[in-house]
Structure formats: structure tokens, C-alpha cells
């Protein structure tokens, strides 16, 4: 048995609803916990409540400085039922003023490096030995919040940007995780993203998986493995694209 839809937006539930509804809510919770304690469902015992997840994220966000991971991104085109898979590595690093930068290096025949530095996105094309720089201006926050969804992010940041539903515990990439469903609150974001699913590892408090649903019915599933949070010996060059590549400013 899993702990099925539990509206995370009800983080403020106890403060805002009527006493009768509140009482019903509390009794429902007591029942669930009683059942869990009686050992009827061992999985419920591992399910995190909203506030627990939020405080876990808040704590890890405070100490978050960097993370490295292997990444596997699957882009699904619904109308032709096609999956395109890219694999590579990810490095995320927090800079002053709470700025998160990342470098994704995809490997294989379509190898390329993608870095976000401030409001600049740099794309490295190995076959051209060139780095193309794009100023994404006002989309900087969107790029940071979407691609790095769950990395170094507090629970309150998540709740401020999304309506959240807890879909319970799941095991992804051999890790126990909490599955959250996020619906963007911003109408601008909704134009690009109708829903995002996020699996937060109970071990690292970082994402083990993200799934982005687009208005076209397609989705992008990104899975992280071998996630290392705050790695002790991350060289300063870990965020650099190849130095010898020719740089071109595109806008």
C-alpha cells in the first residue's frame, strides 16, 4: 500500500481551514499513523510527511555547496512514441548570491557540453571545437529552477513556485525516494511545462529523478545516479568547458 495523493499544498492546511475539517484531517492522519504503527503496511512507515520533506530540503539546501552525478535524459515524443536517450555527467555548484551554476557533459555520438553561468548558457560542440554563448536574460531563473529542480532548493522555494502533491515513497536507482508532483504556479512556466514529477532521495535530499511534461504531451525524464553532495575535492576546473575551443557570442 502506498500513501496516495496527499496534497502538499496543504502545508498551510491546518492554519487555514475550519475546525471541523481540521478535526477530520487530524483524525484521518491519526488513523493512517495507527495503521502504520500496527505494522499493517511497512511502506507507509517510510513515507515522509510534507513538513518532514520540507524541513529535510531546507536543511540540505542550507549546507548545499555542490553536487556531482551521472545523468541519463530520455526525451519522449508522444505522437510517434519515440525515446531519445542521452547520457553524461552533471556538476552543480552554488556561487555567491545563491546562484546555482551547472555543467552537463553529454557523451556518445551526440556529445556536447552545456553550462549555465549567470544568465549565459554556453554550449560546447566537440566536433566544431566551438563554444557558443547565449544570453538567456530573463529566462535565467527559469533555466536554473527547471533544470536544477530539487538541487539546493528549499522546501519553501518549491512550495512558492509549485502546487505540490505527495505521491508517496518509491525506489528509484536503488534509492528510497519521495515522489512529488509539481504543478507550476506561474502562467509563463505553464506554457513550457504542464507538470513536473520529482523524486527526492531520502539519503542525499537531492533529486534521483525528474520528469517534465510539456503541453505537447511529450516528456523529458532525467535520472541521476551516483549523486555526490558537497564532494570534498571538486576541482575549480570542474565547471569549465574546454579552454581551447573557439568562443562565439550569439546574441
Amino acid at each position: 500500500m502506498s500513501f496516495k495523493p496527499y496534497h502538499m499544498n496543504n502545508y498551510f492546511f491546518l492554519m487555514t481551514t475550519s475546525p471541523a475539517v481540521r478535526s477530520l484531517f487530524v483524525r484521518f492522519h491519526c488513523t493512517v499513523w495507527a495503521v502504520a504503527l500496527l505494522g499493517i503496511s511497512p511502506q507507509v512507515g517510510s513515507t515522509q510527511s510534507t513538513s518532514e520533506i520540507f524541513s529535510r530540503l531546507d536543511q540540505s539546501a542550507q549546507s548545499f555547496t555542490a553536487a556531482t552525478a551521472n545523468i541519463r535524459a530520455t526525451t519522449h515524443t508522444g505522437v510517434i512514441n519515440e525515446d531519445e536517450v542521452q547520457t553524461g555527467t552533471l556538476v552543480v555548484k552554488r556561487y555567491p548570491k545563491n546562484e546555482l551554476r551547472f555543467l552537463i557533459n553529454f557523451t556518445g555520438p551526440d556529445a556536447q557540453g552545456i553550462a549555465l553561468k549567470g544568465q549565459m548558457v554556453e554550449i560546447y560542440y566537440p566536433k566544431l571545437n566551438a563554444v557558443r554563448e547565449y544570453d538567456i536574460g530573463k529566462y535565467k531563473d527559469l533555466a536554473q529552477k527547471l533544470i536544477l529542480l530539487g538541487f539546493g532548493m528549499t522546501g519553501h522555494e518549491l512550495a512558492a513556485n509549485y502546487d505540490i502533491t505527495n505521491l508517496g515513497s518509491e525506489r528509484i536507482e536503488s534509492q528510497d525516494s519521495v515522489h512529488l508532483q509539481l504543478i507550476p504556479k506561474s502562467s509563463d512556466v505553464l506554457k513550457q511545462l504542464t507538470r513536473a514529477d520529482l523524486w527526492i532521495s531520502l539519503k542525499t535530499s537531492c533529486p534521483v529523478q525528474q520528469k517534465f511534461y510539456t503541453p505537447s504531451g511529450d516528456y523529458r525524464l532525467v535520472t541521476y545516479s551516483d549523486v555526490k553532495v558537497n564532494p570534498p575535492h571538486l576541482p575549480s576546473s570542474a565547471m569549465d568547458l574546454p579552454k581551447g575551443a573557439k568562443r562565439e557570442r550569439m546574441n
Binding site: V79, E84, L128, A130, Y139, P215, G217, E248
Partner: protein, 335 residues
């Protein structure tokens, strides 16, 4: 300044629309606005082409990949055989189609601007290319390369930026578009007529804002220049203004004189400005024909004239007030 910049904006958009119409397609499909999530500028799969070919009334589907070269230039990857079926083929002025993987074909304007001829080498995207042919302008793009080569170089195997469709009955293109919009929600699907009509100043927010800024600057510059010129003129004519006042000229008479002069300057400035736009047009056509296209936008003549008159009249207010307020005795004794 206003007419030149508006002319460039209109010219660039109209040239883009002309090249889009030159493709010969009935329908264009663009990817959903999800490039931030997909991290790609060419997010459509090539496998959409067989799917689209199966749709009722669709007789041909072909895709292109567009890579920005910075500024207004782009490099477009095409499947030449399919594109020829769609458009009737390029009309080569010199040379011919691609011979090798590193060949590009360019239009005559680009060749003229970059002084290219068949066999010339050109570096685009930090990659050396050879010019295989120069074609008549007005078809799709100014620079084209082999689609699969561009896909490989940019690590976008089997990816497309845009898809063009030909249908059996062009008059029924709208119903095919409606059908496809249901099957491909989120994708931008237009008939070519609709797509061309979207290429206007009002639909390109950046250009609209750009023109707004240019108008604002023009009004401020016009205001300052006229204000300075008329203020100097009033100072220089202090004695004459004093004589007029001594002879009984009213404040209204003096103001009338100053504003009429300002109006004349503004009208002459507008006419000279219009004539100068033909000069800039000639200059662009001969110096940078591929990068900038300037049109004569007649409907902007009265708008630019009105802006210059308003700016000038605003600039003449203070000098006029200064002239009216002059003391007759002091003005007459002014050396």
C-alpha cells in the same frame, strides 16, 4: 533616422517572409516552446516526417535545421533532394548543388557581400566550408549545408528545427493544419500564408520595442537640436525682436514668427530625411545586401513628419517664451 530604421525592420521581415514563401510549402511546423527543458534549438525528431507523410492530403514532408551564425545570419541544413521536390529546386547563378560533405550553397546577395565565388572557402561555426554553388535569392535561406552534416556537427543527430509540408490541394491547407493541431498539441503549425502574415513588426515584440525606442530618441534629439538652434536664433536676433516689439508687434506675432520658422525647419528636415533614406537604401544594397535589407515604407512618411514637427515645436517653446519676455529697451540696446 526613424525612416531608415523602420525601413530596415520592415525590409528584414519582408525578406524573411519572401524567402519562406519561396520554399513552396503549404504548411510549416515549428517545435513547441520547450527549448529550456529540452536544451536544444532543434528539438523535433526526424521520425516525425514519416508520421506526417501518413496524414491525409499530405504529399511531401521535409525538415530543415537552422543554426544561428550571430546577427541576422543563419546556416540552414537541408535535404537537397526533398527540398528540390518541395520548391522546384534552386536556380543556380554559378556552380551547382553540394558535391561533398563540407559544401555550402549561398545566395547571390551573401556571395556579393562576402565576395564569394564557386570554390571559395568560408569558415562558419568554426568549420571550414567550400562554396559549391550560388543561387538566386528568395528561397528559404542565404546559406545552406547538407542536413545530415549539420546535424552531426552540432550533435543533433536526426533532429530538426522546422518541418515543411506540401498538400494535394493548397486551398485545403487550413483543414490539414486544424487536423495536425489536434494531433500535435503545443507545436506551432501554420499555413504558409498565416506564417508570412505573422512576420510583421507588431508580431515581433523586440522590433516593436526597438522602433518605440528609436522614436523616443528621435523626439528627444529633435527637441534638443531645435531648442538649441532656436534659442541661438532668438539670442542672435535680440535686437530685431526689440525693433519688432518697439514697432508694436504683439507677443503672438513674435511667437508666430518663431513657430513658423520651426515648422519650416521641421518640414525641410523631413523632406531631406526622406531623400536620405534612398541614400542609405542604396548603400545597404551595395555594401551589406545579405545582412541588411531596407525598404521604403511610405506609410511611415507622415508619421515621421509628424514626429519631427512635434519634436521641433516642443523644442521651440522655451526660445519662443524667451523672445516674448524680452524687454524692449534692453533688446534695442543689445550689441
Amino acid at each position: 533616422m526613424i525612416l531608415t530604421l523602420v525601413g530596415i525592420s520592415y525590409g528584414t521581415l519582408d525578406e524573411t517572409a519572401r524567402r519562406a514563401r519561396g520554399v513552396g510549402a503549404d504548411i510549416v511546423i515549428r517545435p513547441p516552446a520547450t527549448s529550456i527543458i529540452s536544451l536544444s534549438s532543434s528539438p523535433m525528431s526526424e521520425d516525425l516526417l514519416p508520421f506526417l507523410m501518413k496524414q491525409t492530403h499530405v504529399t511531401l514532408a521535409t525538415g530543415t535545421m537552422i543554426q544561428s551564425l550571430g546577427g541576422f545570419d543563419t546556416l540552414t541544413g537541408i535535404d537537397l533532394a526533398q527540398f528540390n521536390k518541395l520548391s522546384g529546386g534552386f536556380r543556380f547563378v554559378k556552380g551547382g548543388p553540394f558535391q561533398g560533405d563540407d559544401d555550402v550553397i549561398v545566395d547571390e546577395y551573401y556571395a556579393r557581400e562576402k565576395r564569394l565565388s564557386v570554390g571559395s572557402s568560408i569558415t562558419l561555426m568554426n568549420h571550414p566550408w567550400r562554396v559549391a554553388g550560388i543561387f538566386e535569392s528568395g528561397k528559404l535561406a542565404r546559406i545552406c549545408a547538407k542536413l545530415d552534416v549539420l546535424q552531426r556537427l552540432t550533435s543533433n543527430s536526426r533532429k530538426l528545427s522546422q518541418i515543411y509540408l506540401k498538400v494535394d490541394n493548397p486551398n485545403g491547407a487550413q483543414s490539414v493544419v486544424n487536423d495536425l493541431r489536434n494531433k500535435l498539441p503545443g507545436y506551432f503549425i501554420y499555413t504558409m500564408e498565416e506564417f508570412s502574415s505573422l512576420l510583421t513588426i507588431n508580431s515581433v515584440g523586440l522590433l516593436r520595442n526597438f522602433i518605440g525606442v528609436v522614436i523616443g530618441i528621435a523626439v528627444i534629439v529633435g527637441f534638443l537640436v531645435v531648442s538649441m538652434a532656436m534659442y541661438t536664433a532668438v539670442l542672435e536676433r535680440t535686437r530685431e525682436i526689440g525693433i519688432l516689439k518697439a514697432l508694436g508687434a504683439s507677443s503672438g506675432y513674435i511667437l508666430n514668427l518663431i513657430f513658423r520658422e520651426t515648422l519650416l525647419i521641421a518640414i525641410i528636415g523631413t523632406v531631406v530625411g526622406i531623400i536620405m533614406t534612398y541614400g542609405t537604401q542604396w548603400l545597404m544594397l551595395h555594401a551589406v545586401p545579405a545582412s541588411l535589407t531596407q525598404e521604403t515604407v511610405y506609410q511611415w512618411w507622415p508619421i515621421a513628419g509628424a514626429i519631427s514637427v512635434v519634436g521641433a515645436l516642443l523644442g521651440a517653446i522655451f526660445p519662443g517664451w524667451k523672445a516674448v519676455k524680452q524687454d524692449v529697451i534692453q533688446a534695442l540696446s543689445y550689441e
